[in-house]
Symmetry: C2
Subunit: 187 residues, 2 copies
């Protein structure tokens, strides 16, 4: 379905792009970053956000394109920050989340990733990935981006995402999962 | 510019609607509530959100229509929760904001209201209102809605918005100001 078109990833987040490259390489797939003004709807539904963003991106780049939307969902905070994770990261940040989680026993949380691949106005395909884990009590690690330093995946060995290499993180992360689904489908 | 059309307010928030009625009554203007699925963009800019929402609302109701977007901007939290106030209210709520503000000295904050009045695809008029104040240390009052119980306007007498009647609140509130600008313009 990609034909001879190069796969474009509309994002301005280098960390996301590197993770995508890392996963798609395993499948012999190349991807290119394209920066466009994202048009994001306010919605509690990542899939809806990704879908509409992909349609806008297609209109902009006139080429098959993917967008990815991701969020951190914390059980004790009614799934806050969810689809607004990047805004929350920019404003109250990691310290804000840790403060909200002070004296909170239930530390369960998950990351979700939704990729929308759009190659015509009526054709959008969605790939989702999820990773379960817990919110730590302090920041640990310098790698990754966003909320990585306070998220400890359940399938891991106790390290946060920010204490792992891109390869290690991609093995178990929400984004690794959604991009592997995309790659398998493209093949 | 309204001609013989009835002024429609696209909102599902009864509290907002009541405040609008209250202000517009003073000017002899009637307004009607219309519930539609709002299409909100993710943006840090209330005016942009209101503008785009109004265009979508016009398409839906085929009649001149207003939408209003409002937010609480807290200085010490890098203007969080801003345009995402209603999502933040639904998730971490008043207690979440008070927790984030624990031991924070600078309690300055403001509410912003942006009304977009749209009567054709190319004609949108914006009316803004702002009120400055502080975040209280505890919830006070049962009236109003949203963050009213923790916001104390500077122009007031020490009571929070939730301790005032709709009339008292509208005299000094962000929404009172933006709706009075709309009313003056309509007249």
């Amino acid at each position: 379905m990609t034909g001879n078109h190069k796969l474009l990833f509309a994002t301005s987040n280098i960390g996301k792009f590197e993770e995508a490259v890392n996963v798609l390489e395993e499948y012999g797939l190349a991807i290119e970053m394209v920066r466009i003004k994202r048009f994001e709807v306010q919605s509690d539904d990542l899939v809806e956000i990704a879908k509409i963003s992909a349609l806008f991106a297609l209109e902009e780049v006139k080429n098959p394109v993917i967008v990815e939307d991701a969020g951190l969902f914390i059980e004790a905070l009614n799934l806050f920050p969810g689809p607004y994770s990047s805004y929350v990261y920019k404003t109250i940040g990691l310290d804000g989340i840790l403060k909200l989680m002070e004296n909170v026993k239930n530390r369960r949380a998950y990351f979700m990733s939704a990729i929308a691949y759009c190659w015509s106005e009526s054709e959008v395909k969605i790939f989702e990935g999820r990773v379960d884990g817990t919110i730590t009590h302090e920041k640990r690690g310098e790698r990754g981006f966003g909320f990585d330093p306070i998220f400890c995946p359940r399938e891991g060995d106790g390290r946060t995402f920010a204490e792992m290499s891109t390869e290690e993180k991609s093995m178990i992360s929400h984004r690794g999962k959604s991009f592997r689904k995309l790659a398998t489908w493209l093949k």
